[in-house]
Symmetry: D2
Subunit: 118 residues, 4 copies
C-alpha cells in the first residue's frame, strides 16, 4: 500500500530526474496547486450542486479523480520543499477547528456553515 | 499515528455533529478548497520566490502550515462525499505523468517545466 | 465620470507613490488577482445559488462590491504593466466566442452551458 | 469605441440568445471568474517573474490577452446579474485603499507591499 511519505519520495525523484527542482519553489508550487484546484472547480461550475456525484457521466468522474490527484501531488510536493508534515498539520488544525466551532454554537449557524477549515 | 482514513472519519463526524452535511456538496467543497488554495497563494504573492522557506518569519510559517492543513482537510472531505480514494488516484496519476513527461524529452523542456501534475 | 483609462492612471500613481512597482510583475499581479477572485467565491461557497442577490444581507452585498472592485483594480494594474488594452481584448474575445458557440448549436447544450468565455 | 456598458449589454444578449441565464447565478459566475483567473496564473506559474512581458513568445502574449478578456467578461456578467456598477465600486475602493495605505507608512512596508486592493 502506498503511503503519503512514499508519494513524497516518488515526487522528489520524479522532479530530480527531470531537473525541475529549481522551478519547485514554495511560491510556484502554491500557484500550481491553486490552478489544479480551479480545474476541479471548473468541473462543477455550471452544475446545480444537488445531483449525486454517482450520476455524473464517466468522463466527469474520471476528470474529477485526476484533479483530486493533481491537488494532492502538488500539496505533497509543496510539503516536501517546505518541510511541512501534512498529517501533523491537519491534526493540529482539526483541534483548532473544534475549538473555533463548538458543536452547540456552530449547529445551524448560517455564518459559519460548512467550515471544515478556515 | 493518524492516517488519511482516520482524518476522513474524523471530518465526517465533525460535519455530522454540526449538521453541515447538506452544505458539503462536491460543488461547494471544490469551491472551499480553491479558496484555501488561494489563501496559500496569498502568503507568497509579493515574495520574490528565491528566499528559503526556513527564513520566513514564524507567523508566515505557521500560516502556511495552517493553509496546507485546510487544503488537505477539504480535499479529504471532498473525497469522502464523492467516494474517491485520494492515494489510489495519486498513484494512477503519477503513472500517467511518467508516460506524459518521459525523462529524456522532459529534461529542460521549457514548455513542460515543473509539471508534477497537469 | 471615471473611465477605465483614468483608473489605470490612478493605480499607476498609487503604486509609484508607495514604491510598489518592483512588486507589480505580471506574475505577482496574476496571483493577487486570483486571490481576490477566491475572496469573491468565498462569499458564495455555502449558498445554494438560487437566492436573489438583492436578498443577501447588506454586509454580504458590500463585501461583494468590494471584491468586484479589487478584481477590476488588479486586472487594470495587470493591463497597465503588460500593455494589454482590456476593452479591445474583450471585444476580440466576444467575437471568438460567438464563432465558438453559435446560437443554434449552443442552445441548451449541457457541455457548453453558460460559457461566456473559455 | 466600445464601453463597459456596451459590453455588459452584448453579454446579456449573448447569454439570452443561448438560454444561459439560468446558469448565470452570482455563485456560478464567481466560480467561472476564479477559473479564468487561475488560467491567467497558469501562464506565469513557472516563470521567474523578472522577464519583461514583451519578451514572452507570441503564443503566451495572445493567451494572456485572452485570459484578461475572459476575466473582464465574467466580471461584467457578474455585475450585470448583481446590479453592481464596476467603475463606481472601483472608485469607492480606491478611496478606501488610500486611507488604509497612507503613502508615508505604506512606503517600503514589507507587510503591505504591493496591495493595490485588499
Amino acid at each position: 500500500m502506498t503511503t503519503l511519505q512514499q508519494l513524497i519520495s516518488d515526487l522528489e525523484r520524479f522532479a530530480t530526474e527531470r531537473d525541475w527542482q529549481p522551478f519547485h519553489t514554495p511560491k510556484n508550487l502554491a500557484m500550481a496547486l491553486s490552478v489544479e484546484a480551479a480545474e476541479l472547480v471548473e468541473i462543477f461550475q455550471w452544475e446545480d450542486g444537488q445531483r449525486p456525484f454517482a450520476d455524473y457521466d464517466l468522463a466527469q468522474q474520471t476528470a474529477t479523480r485526476h484533479e483530486v490527484a493533481d491537488i494532492l501531488l502538488y500539496l505533497l510536493r509543496f510539503c516536501s520543499v517546505t518541510g511541512i508534515d501534512p498529517l501533523a498539520a491537519a491534526v493540529e488544525k482539526m483541534r483548532l477547528n473544534a475549538e473555533k466551532y463548538p458543536v452547540e454554537t456552530a449547529k445551524g449557524r448560517a455564518k459559519q456553515v460548512g467550515n471544515v477549515a478556515d
